[in-house]
């Protein structure tokens, strides 16, 4: 008397005819450009994200304004104003970059992001591209604001000096690029917004001070410092004639390996293997 039971258990609701495999021969990967577009969109589709960018540009406006109306006449040239602009952006652009990565963990959106594109290096590549694109746009905006500042400088006794040369452009771009990439590496390594931001500020604010203090206290340390500390190594890019010697480039390369390449590779390695929860 178990026929009814048997009937129910063995009725596969037509499962026999259903395909058990998924045909992916006609499938195409999502183009990289689309991933970049999505990652860029993510930087602006929340109030917090929009305001971070707006605040950074606003801060540049304020700093350039202060420069034009409060700096001595001979410090209102384009390179000086671009210098303070670069200073502000150097501190805050990396935060934009850090948030691109860490928000996937802090807001747990990584569950969606990495299931829709399980090849994580593609996502990371898209984030770097989106972040660099954003950085370039903000830098250009900063340069434009500084230029307006130069135009306004005669109002405060300045002479609207357009003294921008190739070296200055190269150095500003290079150091900004380095800054955002260090931020990105720290973000991959630490995967937490507050921790990554604090570590970035320690690296960029406190470390150079400590190195300078050590240089003053310890005999010969000032000779070693440019070979081990990235900020110190980059100093020649912004002082004197904005030109680095061969040895100084070598110092930038060596410290870059320590402070950028190694954390970046390690961060990428960790992120690709990390569990997304």
């Amino acid at each position: 008397m178990t026929t009814t039971d048997d009937h129910q258990t063995s009725a596969p609701t037509g499962a026999g005819q259903l395909p058990r495999t998924i045909d992916v021969t006609d499938d195409q990967r999502v183009p990289f450009a689309r991933l970049v577009a999505v990652e860029t969109r993510k930087s602006f589709d929340t109030r917090a994200g929009r305001w971070l960018t707006i605040s950074i540009v606003g801060l540049v406006l304020v700093v350039v304004g202060v420069g034009v109306f409060a700096f001595p006449d001979d410090a209102q040239d384009y390179v000086s104003l671009l210098g303070v602009t670069g200073g502000v952006l150097g501190y805050f652009l990396p935060i934009l970059m850090i948030m691109l990565v860490t928000s996937e963990w802090s807001q747990r959106t990584g569950l969606n992001t990495f299931t829709l594109e399980p090849r994580r290096t593609r996502v990371i590549g898209a984030k770097i591209t989106a972040g660099l694109g954003l950085a370039v746009v903000v830098l250009a905006l900063g340069a434009a604001i500084a230029a307006v500042g130069v135009l306004l400088s005669p109002a405060n006794g300045g002479e609207a000096v357009w003294n921008l040369g190739y070296n200055e452009v190269q150095n500003f771009s290079l150091s900004s690029l380095i800054g955002v990439l260090v931020g990105f590496a720290l973000a991959m390594l630490l995967r937490s917004s507050p921790v990554a931001i604090v570590v970035y500020f320690v690296y960029t604010f406190i470390l150079p001070g400590v190195v300078a203090a050590l240089g003053a206290l310890v005999d010969g340390f000032d000779k070693v410092a440019p070979w081990i500390e990235f900020n110190t190594a980059q100093t020649p890019l912004f002082t004197g004639d904005y030109r680095a010697t061969g040895e100084e480039w070598a110092q930038i390369a060596v410290t870059g390996l320590i402070w950028l390449v190694v954390p970046f590779v390690l961060g990428l390695w960790r992120l690709v293997r990390a569990e997304v929860k």
């Binding site: 008397m1 395909p19 998924i22 991933l35 990584g110 569950l111 969606n112 299931t115 594109e117």
Partner: protein, 304 residues
């Protein structure tokens, strides 16, 4: 179709998933049932490539998840409805998904409609969503790419009774059209009504699997149990013994290790008037607790 083979995931000395093997068939809803911390979520994360397995593998439609070129088009995933940026609107989250899968934007409105989120609700930030609304949004996101396979972790969590009914109908309909559904829950009642097939997991190991009937049959080692009572209990006991059955007193009547048909026939042959005749097998809940008792607390296992 989802095929999990010898899946193990350890964290240091702790084994979260221990040599798990099962299959989810197309056209069926498979319920993945177990107490909290049994390894359901870990198994599902491994399925979709978020957690690397220590050993074993999972294929979906014959492919490793990471080998699917555009996985969102084939596998709809909802692992945690709360895992969304609180500052994004529901519509924006679906738009990001649609763009990531190369879908037309019209798909976003279709899915909002499917899960009954109004335009007004879709325009609100997820921060202001109830858990039930987040679940609906998560289902919408999982369905965006019109996938053949659904992997849903605790999808009914936070839904009101009407929402649970809606979800049940949705998943049943989806399976009827040939889809493969795997849904997890720690609540038996949610799964029991919708799942064609159930996988019971406790402490990282599969403790039982099959459909409801075979699970119940297996729990009692194939022995049926019947609860029966009669106007004249003494006559009933005599009748049962005459048919070779062994009644044990229970409440007003007896408990008999036989099917209801056998007990009914015995009563009929001896012209005993029955007042009650029913299947006395333990419910799925008893089975679930029994099978997973050692994972709940040691004392419960010892007492049982």
């Amino acid at each position: 179709m989802i095929e999990v083979t010898g899946l193990t995931r350890t964290y240091g000395g702790f084994t979260a998933v221990d040599d798990v093997t099962f299959t989810c068939e197309p056209g069926r809803v498979t319920g993945f049932l177990g107490p909290n911390g049994a390894g359901k979520s870990t198994t599902m994360r491994v399925m979709v490539g978020l957690t690397p397995p220590t050993r074993g593998r999972v294929t979906i439609g014959g492919h490793l998840y990471r080998d699917l070129p555009n996985p969102g088009r084939h596998v709809g995933v909802l692992l945690d409805a709360g895992a969304q940026h609180a500052g994004r609107t529901g519509r924006e989250i679906l738009t990001l998904g649609a763009r990531s899968m190369m879908l037309p934007r019209s798909r976003v409105d279709e899915m909002l409609h499917t899960v009954s989120l109004t335009d007004d609700e879709a325009g609100r930030r997820v921060r202001d969503y109830s858990l039930g609304m987040k679940q609906r949004l998560g289902i919408a996101h999982a369905l965006l790419g019109d996938p053949e396979v659904l992997v849903l972790d605790e999808p009914a969590n936070g839904l009101d009774p009407a929402g649970i009914r809606w979800m049940r109908d949705l998943l049943k309909g989806y399976a009827r059209r040939g889809g493969t559904v795997l849904l997890s829950s720690h609540l038996l009642n949610e799964v029991e009504l919708v799942a064609d097939e159930m996988i019971l997991i406790g402490r990282g190991r599969i403790v039982a699997q099959g459909d409801k009937q075979s699970l119940l049959a297996g729990a009692h080692h194939g022995e049926a149990t019947t609860i029966v009572s009669a106007l004249d209990p003494t006559a009933l006991a005599t009748a049962l013994r005459a048919c070779g059955l062994d009644p044990t007193p229970e409440g007003n009547g007896f408990k008999v290790a036989a099917t209801t048909a056998e007990v009914g026939r015995a009563a009929l042959e001896h012209l005993v008037v029955l007042t009650e005749l029913r299947n006395g097998a333990a419910g799925l809940e008893d089975l679930f607790l029994e099978l997973t008792s050692d994972t709940q607390r040691e004392t419960a296992g010892a007492a049982a």
